[in-house]
Symmetry: C2
Subunit: 157 residues, 2 copies
DNA sequence: AGAATATAGTTAGCAAGCTAAGTATTGTAC
DNA sequence: GTACAATACTTAGCTTGCTAACTATATTCT
């Protein structure tokens, strides 16, 4: 009986995780929408600044923890909005270097306080210790998943 | 300086959460794919069983923490596969009652051990106490997000 | 009872992640 | 130095979440 309840709970974990992910995104989206920025767009901008403004698309995708094709669409939109530029790279002609435009930097300044406010609101009532622990468990489960994925794909050969 | 680092970390939290969500789904998907079941399909089947087999679409959507239109597509696929049926409800002619077919029940038996195995693998190395704490923080952030959403949408009126 | 509102379901179409497959360039191994 | 492998990008198309707008039924308020 207790075992049955545990099973139920464990199934819910994945669902709760999914729900939290969607809600977080929705909140962030609503806050930044008036500026014409969706969630993937402003996280890309933000991350680009943190990485030092001029990086390859590959590096940016890795930092954002998404695949290159997923990033492509977003960068296309940001380019159209005039917030970023994509240059050729002299050292590696395959690569394209992404850089913030002046307009992009200006926009980032405007949204910074909003982004920080959203985070503070969502993490209200959680101590730094709890947050660290939370991050640790996320990493642990992610590692487990990655290991399992590696095992599965290798045996598929 | 330290404050700057904290900000970086907090931005990452949302991304780590998103990544974990995608990895979890991917692992589950690969394990169940040979049976013709994607993640939303088998979670719907599973949840349906836990809810007692005969419930309205609305109730099932709530339990799965997704919106009705999202569920519709999945139920359509499961119906086509002959794993569920949708009946009219006598008491409320708007509602449609979802029920497992014998084939659906049979399939559930087959996948049950696999589902439980995936969960155990992903949660390996995490104590029940840690897991409870993890769930608690998820709920807390989700509540914060919901409150913020409620506030935003109400002031929009 | 009749009008206004709310609810369950449905349809249509958007968003943003993914994989698979293709191209151009680079790096590596004889 | 030439052939093979790996890398960075791109394109095309799938998936499954969502919201908006619609219908049919149920509920609530005078």
């Amino acid at each position: 009986m207790r075992q049955e309840l545990e099973r139920l709970k464990e199934l819910s974990l994945a669902e709760h995780l999914a729900r939290l992910h969607r809600r977080w995104r929705t909140v962030a989206e609503i806050e930044l929408a008036p500026l014409g920025l969706t969630y993937p767009r402003w996280t890309a901008l933000w991350k680009l600044l943190r990485l030092g403004d001029k990086v390859s698309q590959k590096v940016l995708a890795n930092a954002l923890e998404i695949e290159l094709p997923s990033l492509m669409r977003t960068l296309g939109q940001l380019e159209e909005q005039g917030l970023i530029e994509r240059h050729c790279c002299d050292k590696d002609k395959r690569a394209r270097i992404v850089a913030l435009t002046p307009a992009g930097k200006e926009t980032l300044k405007t949204i910074e306080t909003r982004i920080i406010q959203v985070r503070m609101d969502l993490l209200e009532g959680i101590s730094p210790t709890e947050l660290n622990e939370f991050e640790r468990i996320i990493s642990l489960i992610t590692d487990n998943a990655n290991q399992k994925l590696a095992k599965i794909t290798s045996t598929d050969l």
